[in-house]
Assembly symmetry: C2
Homo-oligomer: 255 residues x 2
Amino acid sequence: MCAWTNLMTDFSTRAERQRLVLKLESIADLTGEEKQALLGLPMVVKTVPADHDIVSIGDCPSHCCLLLEGWACRYKMLPDGSRQIMSFHIPGDIPDLQSLYLKTMDHSLGTIVPAKVALIHHRDMHSLIRQWEGISVAMWRDSLIDAAIFREWMVGIGRRSAHQRIAHILCEMATKLRMVALNDGDTYPWPVTQQEVADALGLTDVHVNRVLRDIRKAGLITMARGVFTAVNWEGLKELGQFEPTYLHVEPVLAA
Amino acid sequence: MCAWTNLMTDFSTRAERQRLVLKLESIADLTGEEKQALLGLPMVVKTVPADHDIVSIGDCPSHCCLLLEGWACRYKMLPDGSRQIMSFHIPGDIPDLQSLYLKTMDHSLGTIVPAKVALIHHRDMHSLIRQWEGISVAMWRDSLIDAAIFREWMVGIGRRSAHQRIAHILCEMATKLRMVALNDGDTYPWPVTQQEVADALGLTDVHVNRVLRDIRKAGLITMARGVFTAVNWEGLKELGQFEPTYLHVEPVLAA
DNA sequence: CGCAATATTGACCATCATCAATTGGCGTGG
DNA sequence: CCACGCCAATTGATGATGGTCAATATTGCG
């Protein structure tokens, strides 16, 4: 049951294909030819409502998906009905790149808010990777950075307090949003419910609520109506022990 | 401070290079030429004592490491001295493949017991990947399976009880050991201390001890002197909610 | 305006952490 | 061969972080 069948469909605009170039350029160097090749990549654009799967566990997708608008998350359900969210994704991300090499999805990818995604056929992606070294390197780096973020989340869930975890994820998402210029000053979009934060951090919604109140009262952030502001960025970083090395934003020094 | 400088060093034997072929064949199809290419790969063998880093956080390695003997783990230390282990590795694994594309280590790789590793220069690995499609696919799959295991651990630490987590990790390691024929019947090597299990699962050593006692008393396992036996494999799987899909051992159907 | 989803707060409780002491296994050296 | 010492395993007592259950307030939205 793919949520996007029967939904609005269109061919991609140039601006949308440009998004992919911008994303990959942020993680590896690309030649002019490589950028041209990316701009020629066939993509089909679909919209997906909030809280719907883009790809579900057990699926064997034939396409990768580039997130154009909205937020998504990867998650797994447990037998008792609880959920673990394993990553949040923002525009520019390619959350199911892995389906290129692992046929069966071992988790689901769902929207958090209404989203627009571009579907890229595996065949096309494979031939691009085969042909262009720079694109291949960018894809490698992207999925390895993905894994690095998983590891950092494990550290948080395993060894950090609830206060530290929440501060940390705010820092992480703020940094990721800044990298693709999706924020305005110290203010960031925050379309995630407290229940979703709880599912991401191994907590309950009730506890997330209390901790957010503490962090607000401590004057580190404000948060309201889908927006969060880092009032005291240094303090927030310190509370969350945020050290962005694992995001590997280091200047990319060619292949 | 590389732990292996000044330690015993040697060129690899054919059997050791064969290990790499076996590992990669277990995750992707290789042609005869590709296997030959792998057997020709220059490797230098080193021994590393127990509890020493093979690569440390912050390092910029010039080599990848193939684990030949012993167990290793990837981990991060926290400011308060606590530790999160993010993966266990057994012979055949290439735990720092990521250093091929991400210059700086964002975590450390250390031994659990005395180990023997083969070092492969990035240059050689890169040229192999560039030249041989099958080897490239195997490497991709390997690092994506790695990421899938991280995600599964997140699920455990975030949402499973201590009993479930411990049962789950026993199932996982048993399955991995069976895949490379490192066990004997229902008995598996288990060189990991309770403290290390605790650091992997986000628990304390004391609690791991109590939970292991429960699981032993329930007749699911026995564990002693570096060896563990699955007495009731089905029961253990059920307790741990172990579903090995995420290990992607599905029959590999060509590229 | 009214419903539904989300956020918020309170009271109580459980899992797991902390602190501390004891036991057992095993290698080493006298 | 046995005593010593070290490390890991084990057990007990107590406590704190975060979970559960439940009620109420807000907010967004048609």
